[in-house]
């Protein structure tokens, strides 16, 4: 019965935790999410395949059939499927990222309070933030990789750089997930999530060059696309998958920098809001 105190065995005593986040503490948070995920793994993988197949079939072939017949000059000789695929990749990963940073995080803070349970151990709020960001990045990488695989199967990618489009889509997802996590930590109910998805995520999904080039928007609206993090992600993925990234390398770098900046700020704010929330109880 040594686990029940009394005889403390020094060899098996928990190591003294470091002060400050380190991989050794962060990984425990990732491990927790992975353990939870084991139960929903199958359904989740199935969904990851289902979404791209459905979207690419319906929009790429169905809608694309009409678009391609109209010989639209804006598409510069691409099929609609080729144009759409990278946009959908970035946008889907963005949606997954936003979702993963809303309900599951609120759950840990409010419903079953597992983050509070962690906070009673050597795990620190910063570990919880980093661990969840890493976990979300892994989830997004899986979703993105499956999506890219389906795109390749559909013959909708024109460049081997599609491989790089996956990490760029993940970065896009994180640029949404980290501010979302910061926001979630300030909430006690999911009431505002619906509003945020309806008036934030969905309009961005529609108007960030995902389904049509932003050049088709009225000219006064086009600069607005620059404010949309999703547009940066969509355009970056598109340049990579169409193999045109070499034409405007500076633009690609700017896209990446914008996404990285948002992610870093998101993490920094989330560290504060998550800690404040855990301390509040």
């Amino acid at each position: 019965m040594s686990a029940i105190a009394g005889a403390r065995d020094r060899r098996t005593t928990a190591p003294l935790p470091p002060l400050g986040s380190s991989w050794s503490t962060v990984r425990r948070v990732v491990e927790h999410r992975a353990l939870q995920y084991r139960r929903t793994f199958r359904a989740s993988i199935f969904g990851s395949f289902g979404i791209p197949v459905l979207f690419l079939t319906a929009m790429g072939f169905g809608l694309g059939g009409y678009v391609d017949r109209s010989q639209d000059a804006v598409l510069h000789g691409l099929t609609y499927l080729q144009f759409l695929a990278p946009g959908l990749l970035a946008a889907t990963v963005m949606q997954t990222g936003s979702f993963e940073a809303s309900f599951p995080i609120l759950g840990g803070l409010q419903w079953n309070k597992v983050f509070h349970a962690m906070f009673a151990t050597p795990i620190q709020p910063s570990d919880i933030v980093f661990g969840n960001v890493i976990w979300i990045a892994l989830r997004l990488a899986l979703v993105g990789a499956v999506f890219a695989f389906v795109i390749v199967l559909f013959g909708a990618s024109r460049s081997a750089l599609v491989v790089l489009a996956v990490p760029c889509a993940v970065l896009t997802g994180l640029a949404f997930a980290t501010p979302m996590m910061a926001f979630t930590a300030t909430q006690r109910t999911p009431d505002r999530f619906a509003t945020l998805f309806r008036f934030g995520v969905t309009p961005l999904f529609l108007f960030s060059g995902t389904f049509f080039p932003i050049e088709s928007l009225p000219s006064f609206l086009q600069p607005v696309a620059w404010l949309s993090p999703l547009w940066h992600g969509v355009d970056l993925c598109r340049q990579l998958m169409l193999g045109t990234v070499g034409d405007t390398p500076l633009l690609a770098v700017i896209h990446a920098l914008v996404l990285i900046t948002i992610t870093v700020i998101g993490v920094a704010v989330a560290m504060r809001t998550v800690e404040a929330r855990l301390v509040k109880g």
Binding site: T12, A14, P17, S24, H32, A117, A120, T121, I123
Partner: protein
């Protein structure tokens, strides 16, 4: 025990280890040879303008079971969370396991076993997985987590539920699982916030039995409760908290001796009668408390009081003579009942 830790706590590290068989330090008299595991002076917690804990002083010695007894909102949880290093102190001094919660939070938490007031179990995992992952939070190797998990499931009598999800467990089972979970790191100090609130009597007794066994093994227990029977059963020493302050301190027996009489006679009258009896109880007992539903007469011999009341022509519907409890102490100190 790493070098930093030894350096920080000096020679007092050794005595603070729980002893399996030796008599708990507390029984040998406070401050005999060991530094207190918890030392608080003028400890204060404020939420904005509101003061939830108002300058409390207390020490917890190795091996003792120490209780915070108080009604809702007294500041018990706020105090426990400061000790548990999840809520920074607003003012005063606090040291836990000879470390400073402000600076050494994660190191202190590594040696605590915390049972929070509200369960924080992971409903998406099984009973056993809850223990395994919790052990991992402390950085224990997987095989060690597995070994301890099985042992602890046995200890809290949940071995047959290991593979079940947590969700459908009864309240008492969840509480037992939370206690098992808090023991996975072999803590030097357990913090139990209302371990049995909301449980039926049978579930409470089972929990008390487990906690009693831990105490027998020399584990230092700090618990909060608003049940006086729980405090009497488990605590070597306790403080009574009311409105953010400590109003009394001592062993259950000392508190009863100091603030109450040996016995109490409880009179209940038919509805409407009690209000007509003003002045009729004067001089019958050392102290008289008139509650809305009954009259409490405090005296060293309760039967004596009953006899003299009868001879005065008082005819309560029911009469109960009992020993004083902590409930009476609380009533005396605050003028209110513990559970409203």
């Amino acid at each position: 025990m790493s070098e930093t830790n030894v350096a920080a706590s000096g020679a007092s590290v050794e005595p603070s280890q729980p002893r399996p068989t030796a008599e708990p330090a507390a029984r040998r008299g406070p401050g005999a040879d060991a530094a207190p595991l918890i030392h608080a002076r003028k400890l204060t917690k404020r939420f904005g303008e509101f003061t939830a804990v108002d300058g409390v002083d207390f020490d917890v010695q190795p091996g003792e079971a120490f209780g915070f007894l108080g009604p809702n909102g007294a500041g018990k949880t706020s105090t426990m969370r400061m000790i548990g290093c999840t809520s920074p102190i607003s003012d005063g001094e606090l040291s836990v396991l000879d470390m400073n919660p402000r600076r050494d939070g994660p190191r202190i938490r590594a040696r605590l076993g915390v049972v929070p007031q509200h369960d924080t179990l992971d409903n998406e995992l099984t009973v056993r997985e809850n223990l395994l992952i919790y052990g991992r939070y402390f950085g224990l190797p997987r095989e060690e987590c597995a070994r301890r998990a099985d042992e602890l499931l046995d200890f809290v009598q949940l071995s047959d539920r290991g593979k079940d999800l947590v969700e459908p467990l009864s309240g008492g089972m969840k509480r037992r699982l939370t206690i098992a979970r808090s023991l996975i790191n072999e803590p030097d100090l357990m913090l139990l916030d209302e371990p049995t609130t909301g449980l039926d009597p049978q579930a409470r007794h089972l929990l008390w039995d487990r906690l009693y066994r831990l105490k027998q093994r020399g584990v230092t227990l700090v618990l909060t409760t608003h049940y006086m029977d729980e405090a009497e059963q488990l605590c070597d020493r306790l403080v009574v908290m009311d409105k953010a302050k400590i109003v009394a301190e001592g062993s259950p027996r000392q508190l009863i001796e100091r603030y109450s009489t040996k016995e109490v006679a409880e009179f209940r009258f038919a509805p409407g009668i009690q209000e007509t009896l003003d002045g009729q109880f004067d001089g019958l007992a050392e102290r008289i408390e008139r509650l809305p539903d009954r009259v409490l007469l405090y005296a060293d011999d309760g039967e004596d009081v009953v006899a003299s009341a009868r001879s005065r022509g008082l005819h309560p519907e029911t009469v109960l003579v009992r020993r004083s409890t902590l409930e009476d102490v609380f009533l005396r100190l605050t003028g209110r009942s513990l559970i409203e």
